[in-house]
Symmetry: C2
DNA sequence: CCCGGCAGTTGACCTAGGTCAATGACCGAT
DNA sequence: ATCGGTCATTGACCTAGGTCAACTGCCGGG
């Protein structure tokens, strides 16, 4: 839906295949597919495993194939704030910049599709549309980060929780290529502690607000990790967005 | 300091001239300069004047020449959160996306250097290095936004104030191409209300924390808008960053 | 010169959410 | 089966910062 870029139409569309890991690439020819296979590799991480550490040089970039990755920063005294949450198809790592500006940690079992940094940079030179696509994705991330700033700075604990559930529901629906509808069931990928760090709260407050939302009928819990949203619009109402949509990458 | 991009070296360096408004462009030839003059125009805004409104289509992009611009979002019930603060040389507007995701408001007298959207998009097609530079700037903004998320989610009111003063001091020093040193005097571009909205606080808390920092000797005030930082390191200590640097564009 | 309005400060009070602590549920290891 | 650990929930309490209100100083207009 956006203006197409210029050169190499035959490789152009692969930007998405590359950086969002659309593994099945129906519009690329055999030569392209072979090329992609040659430069991709995969790596898996266990829950809690560190993918990159703040300030450390990372020698790869890639995209999430399975699982959820948290991005967080820690203050000197141990206070932690999550600054992003990556779902399948999200990009990880920064072009042109080796040093990681935060910790990236696998919150579930994670599979990444990886390019070595030199290889990715070569790709960037050879594939003009890739840079354009990266720019667009980075702009989306920036929007998401700014939405989250509103949440962190101005929302109540209850609104934060509701926003978070909607965020997860939306992202998981997108991953499953399913529509988000009333009654969705979803598995929360984060522990209470991770949620607290994402929302700028404590685990006790997270726990209390979940109980309160459950009592109010806004959510239903089967166990601590599995929930159902009976009425999306009602929850969005509680989340308190004017337009709606607390997105974060 | 970053890997150079490919085509058109003779126009390449002008990416900075264009999007960061380095008006004096010593490395461009007369043809380039004439070209730039032909497509630039300027617009000024009074304090409080709206530059773009959330959800509204904007027909221009550009960069700040003078003054300070706030980017903010407002919740349905009027709660406001500032999500960015633009100083001279910062870029405003989003390539490939006409709809503004927040309000942009002049907080001081502001002069913008402006390109019409179609013109900018033509420029983007013709100048490969421009996209690369935009990507880099967007990544910087994303970093800054994430730093601010840490502040909003995890810092105390006092830490927030100290971080804010350092942010302003750094940005103003950069604009003046001056080094940031102990004893800097600076004019606060924001009202107490704007600061509160930037930091996720109320004006009363902002006022109280300023008084407290003054009493503690961390800052000195001549009047409500003019201050001096006697000891940068001491203030940074109060700001509570591990590494430091709460940057936001 | 006076008056009204706005920005800022300060005080008194209140409350959302943090802190601390006890308890329960659910492991996986012995 | 038992133990130790992690995760979650809940209660009792406390405090940082929000709310409400009074007051000041400043500026611009009549």
């Amino acid at each position: 839906m956006k203006p197409a870029t210029t050169l190499r139409p035959e490789r152009e569309r692969c930007a998405d295949c590359l950086i969002r890991h659309r593994a099945v690439c129906s519009h690329c020819g055999p030569a392209e597919l072979e090329f992609l296979d040659a430069i991709k590799s995969y790596r898996t991480f266990k829950p809690g495993e560190e993918i990159t550490a703040m300030g450390q040089e990372t020698d790869f970039l890639g995209s999430v194939v399975n699982g959820v990755v948290s991005l967080s920063r820690i203050l000197a005294d141990g206070r932690r704030q999550m600054v992003g949450l990556l779902f399948p198809s999200d990009f990880i790592g920064r072009p042109m910049r080796a040093q990681a500006p935060f910790d990236a940690i696998a919150v579930t079992d994670v599979k990444l599709c990886i390019f070595s940094r030199p290889r990715f940079e070569a790709l960037l030179r050879d594939t003009p549309s890739l840079e354009s696509r990266l720019l667009e994705m980075t702009l989306d991330e920036l929007d998401a980060a700014r939405d989250w700033m509103v949440l962190l700075g101005r929302k109540t604990a209850r609104e934060k929780m509701a926003s978070f559930f909607l965020l997860v529901a939306r992202r998981l629906a997108a991953v499953a290529r399913a529509e988000l509808r009333d009654g969705v069931e979803l598995e929360l990928p984060l522990t209470r502690e991770d949620m607290a760090d994402f929302l700028g709260l404590t685990i006790e407050t997270v726990s209390r607000q979940i109980s309160a939302l459950r009592k109010a009928g806004a959510i239903e819990l089967t166990d601590a990790r599995h929930m159902r949203i009976p009425d999306i619009a009602a929850l969005a109402e509680i989340a308190g967005d004017d337009d709606d949509g607390g997105m974060i990458d």
